[in-house]
Symmetry: C2
């Protein structure tokens, strides 16, 4: 568990994209954030109050989040000195970078000396087991995709927000680094040893008896030749009762594979349902979440209506249109009632 | 590349099953073996000549193979002292155990001092890339299964042997530890980071322009809830032209999952073909290889005939019946002609 509240470290970022992780945390968990720390050349912001390490600590911050994305995923000199200063000020540090905090000798030494914790959220835990696929208690929803990076995490978080607004018990379960920082826990499923993919997902969404839903962040696509193995193991481990298909309108080819077309939406949904039945024969599709940011609003709405006709499922852009119709369908299919 | 010829180390094994890896090497690659080394309590044999380390070296052995299977996959005291003695006698050492040779301080020190190589074949290489699924030259056959441990490696090796007998160019490509020791190279696909499953298989079966076939050892099953992710990534990375479905007659449940039935053979084949089309739309099934060791010969032959009727494919037990009919079908489908 990553201790909250957070101070978001933006370094010297000059592009919105490179603070995507911090923006995601600030958007979905503002209540977890006390502020942001910007380096002298930083030109972007999450909108959180700006503060230094001492001020963050005095406002109750427990962990600094290094949520930067740079080309190699490495720790630059400014980040290293800032991490050390944050540790010395009394903060734990959590990082979504490829380069490990714990394996940096100076950072590791200071963390030990100050008694602070380091969290490398791309590194899976060491105690994983293989999945078994035995039926387990509780209800689970999984987002699946036509491709990578089509908005599965956003869709999952939007459904959590909408369910909670309706007083339905629901918890986001994270499988990627940004999701883990948002949820304060989780396992980066694409980084586990291949034998443990489904087992890792069983571990983050164990049996639950409280009528609440686990809303599991999907990864990749059964139709992506690089990552389909991750997606299939995730699907089997999630043992989902409900699937939401995620898709980006107007995407021209599979991510990272110029020339490879996106799958047909109906095929993609059918193949996911078919594979999901291995561990949950009663799985149902409850909606389609699209990223329509490439299209004008009227075109996006027309495209959603076409998808609704094609698949017989509600289709919405979680950012532009919300997920009320998808949540309605989920509630109908599973007869959900607000917890009073 | 693991240097041959080999000395097979049997330790103090008292059961045939615990020297399965060494027996596999002796069966499929007798030309790679000079002999076996047995400890004082050893009661089993591969049939190879017995010899000590010095004698093995004098007969040209280059590598000692620690192919033991024990419950935890660990190195016992007798194995450790034997590995050290083998290194000092001038042998490299290759191991299929979970516990790493290279991470054992004393073994690592002696290997360094003597200039010998250590091969931990369960440890994947560090330089893996993600798969891309781009069409590549050459022909590839992959064995897929209804379950784990149904004879995929044996079937693949039997087809290699039969093709080579017919002067067809074919090379076994290994994806598991026993296979890697047999092939002298390969990648343990179930041990790679999940993101690299398909990429690892692209790496072991790169484009080839010589009209030869890569015969790729399959792993797991699309229908095994623990390992299906490995099987799907392997299928996409293999980009197979031909599939051989492997199955054990009379198996009562999926391996390790009491109560979970085996998939229907027709469903299993169809789902493998469907998934394989993502990276090779022209994939064809060419046969079914069964392990019929639980049945009397007449029942086994009747079961094979039934499967042939059901699927319209030749069905044979590679050990009991050979793979001539499967290889005939492969040759017909792909118009193969002997290299003169």
């Amino acid at each position: 568990m990553i201790a909250a509240p957070y101070l978001l470290f933006l370094g010297n970022a000059e592009e919105a994209l490179s603070i995507k992780t911090s923006r995601g945390i600030a958007q979905w968990r503002p209540e977890l954030c006390v502020g942001e720390y910007r380096g002298p050349q930083c030109t972007v912001t999450t909108g959180q109050p700006q503060m230094d390490f001492a001020e963050a600590v005095s406002q109750g911050a427990k962990t600094m989040i290094v949520g930067l994305a740079n080309a190699g995923g490495y720790l630059d000199e400014y980040s290293i000195s800032s991490v050390i200063a944050a540790l010395e000020a009394g903060l734990d540090v959590a990082s979504g970078l490829h380069q490990s905090l714990a394996e940096h000798p100076e950072i590791a030494r200071i963390a030990k000396a100050t008694g602070r914790k380091l969290h490398d959220v791309r590194k899976p835990p060491a105690d994983l087991r293989v999945g078994k696929g035995y039926p387990r208690a509780g209800k689970r929803l999984l987002t699946v995709g036509t491709d990578c990076s089509v908005g599965k995490m956003y869709a999952t978080l939007a459904i959590e927000q909408e369910m909670q607004r309706r007083k339905l018990s629901a918890d986001f379960r994270a499988t990627g680094q940004t999701g883990i920082l948002i949820a304060q826990s989780g396992i980066p499923v694409d980084a586990v040893i291949a034998d443990f993919i489904s087992g890792a997902v069983e571990q983050i969404s164990p049996a639950r008896e409280d009528d609440g839903w686990d809303l599991i962040e999907g990864q990749g696509s059964l139709f992506h030749p690089s990552y389909a193995g991750v997606s299939l193991g995730l699907l089997h481990g999630a043992q989902p009762d409900a699937l939401v298909l995620c898709h980006e309108l107007g995407r021209e080819h599979m991510r990272g594979i110029p020339g490879r077309p996106l799958p047909d939406l109906r095929d993609c949904l059918e193949r996911n349902l078919e594979a999901a039945r291995l561990t949950n024969p009663d799985v149902q599709a409850v909606g389609v979440a699209v990223n329509s940011s490439k299209l004008p609003r009227d075109q996006a709405l027309r495209a959603c209506a076409d998808i609704e006709d094609l698949l017989g499922l509600p289709c919405q852009d979680p950012i532009a249109h919300g997920v009320a119709k998808i949540t309605d369908r989920l509630s109908e299919c599973f007869e959900l009632h607000a917890v009073v």
